[in-house]
C-alpha cells in the first residue's frame, strides 16, 4: 500500500515536471521540491493512510496544468508548446489575409479615384483646347 501511495505522488510530480520544460531548471527543481515537501508534510501531519486520502491532498494542490500555469505566470514567461504553436500557425495566415484585404481596399480606392478623375479629366482639355484656338 505504501509503495502504491508513493507511485501516485511520483506520477503527479512527473506530470507537473513534464509541463515545466519552459522554466529555468532551478525554478523547476524548486517547485517540485516544494510540492514534494508539501505532500510529505500533509501525509505526516494529517496521518494519511489510504490512497484515497492521498489523492485528496493532490486534488487540493490542483491539476498539474493548473500548477504549471501558475508557475509560468509567476515566472513571467509563457508555457512552451501547445497553445502558442497553434497561434503561430494562425498568425501568418491572419496577417496575409489582412494584407490581401488592405491591398484590395487600396486598389478599390485607386480604381474609384481613377474613374472619378477619368470622368472629370477629359472635359478639361476639351475646354482648354478650344481657348487658344
Amino acid at each position: 500500500m505504501k509503495i502504491k501511495n508513493t507511485d501516485v505522488v511520483a506520477e503527479y510530480l512527473h506530470e507537473v515536471d513534464l509541463r515545466l520544460t519552459g522554466l529555468p531548471v532551478l525554478q523547476r527543481r524548486e517547485l517540485l521540491a516544494d510540492l514534494a515537501a508539501h505532500i510529505a508534510t500533509e501525509r505526516t501531519e494529517r496521518n494519511i493512510q489510504t490512497e484515497g486520502e492521498l489523492i485528496e491532498v493532490l486534488e487540493k494542490l490542483g491539476a498539474p496544468e493548473v500548477v504549471a500555469n501558475a508557475a509560468y505566470e509567476e515566472a513571467g514567461t509563457r508555457p512552451p508548446r501547445p497553445v502558442p504553436k497553434q497561434r503561430r500557425n494562425w498568425l501568418p495566415a491572419a496577417i496575409a489575409a489582412g494584407a490581401v484585404a488592405l491591398v484590395l481596399v487600396v486598389c478599390g480606392f485607386f480604381a474609384f479615384f481613377a474613374m472619378a478623375t477619368g470622368h472629370d479629366g477629359p472635359p478639361r482639355p476639351v475646354h482648354v483646347v478650344p481657348g487658344p484656338r
Binding site: 524548486e30 516544494d34 508539501h38 510529505a40 501531519e45 487540493k60 500548477v67 508557475a71 515566472a75
Partner: protein, 114 residues
C-alpha cells in the same frame, strides 16, 4: 455566478502576495502552513499548488527569504520570513490599499457613507 470566478481571480491578482507577506510579518511560517492558512479564506481559495510559484517569485524579488529546517516530527520544512525590502513593500501596499479602497468605495457606492 459564471462571472464570479474570473472576477475573484482578477481581484486576487496583485493582492494575494501582500496577504502572504502579512502572514509572515510577525513570525516565520513554513510552506504548508501558509497554504493552509490561505486555503481557509473563502475569498482567496485557489488551488494550493499555485501558492508555491508565488512564494518562489516573492523570494526571487527579495521580499521573502527562506530556509529549510528539520521538523521535530516529519519531513523537513521550508520556512519563509519577511526581508526588510518585503516589510517596506507591505507598508507601501497598506497605504496604497487604503486610498485605493476608498476611491473604489466612493465610485462604486460601496462605502459606508455612500
Amino acid at each position: 455566478m459564471a462571472d464570479a470566478a474570473p472576477l475573484s481571480t482578477s481581484l486576487r491578482r496583485g493582492t494575494l502576495e501582500f496577504c502572504v507577506l502579512a502572514l509572515v510579518e510577525r513570525e516565520d511560517r513554513y510552506g504548508t502552513e501558509l497554504v493552509r492558512r490561505l486555503g481557509d479564506e473563502p475569498n482567496l481559495a485557489a488551488s494550493e499548488g499555485t501558492i508555491y510559484p508565488l512564494l518562489s517569485r516573492l523570494r526571487r524579488v527579495g521580499w521573502l527569504d527562506s530556509k529549510w529546517s528539520e521538523s521535530p516530527s516529519g519531513p523537513p520544512r521550508r520556512y519563509y520570513g519577511l526581508t526588510p525590502a518585503g516589510r517596506a513593500a507591505l507598508e507601501h501596499f497598506r497605504s496604497e490599499w487604503v486610498s485605493f479602497r476608498q476611491t473604489v468605495d466612493r465610485l462604486v457606492g460601496t462605502g459606508e457613507v455612500a
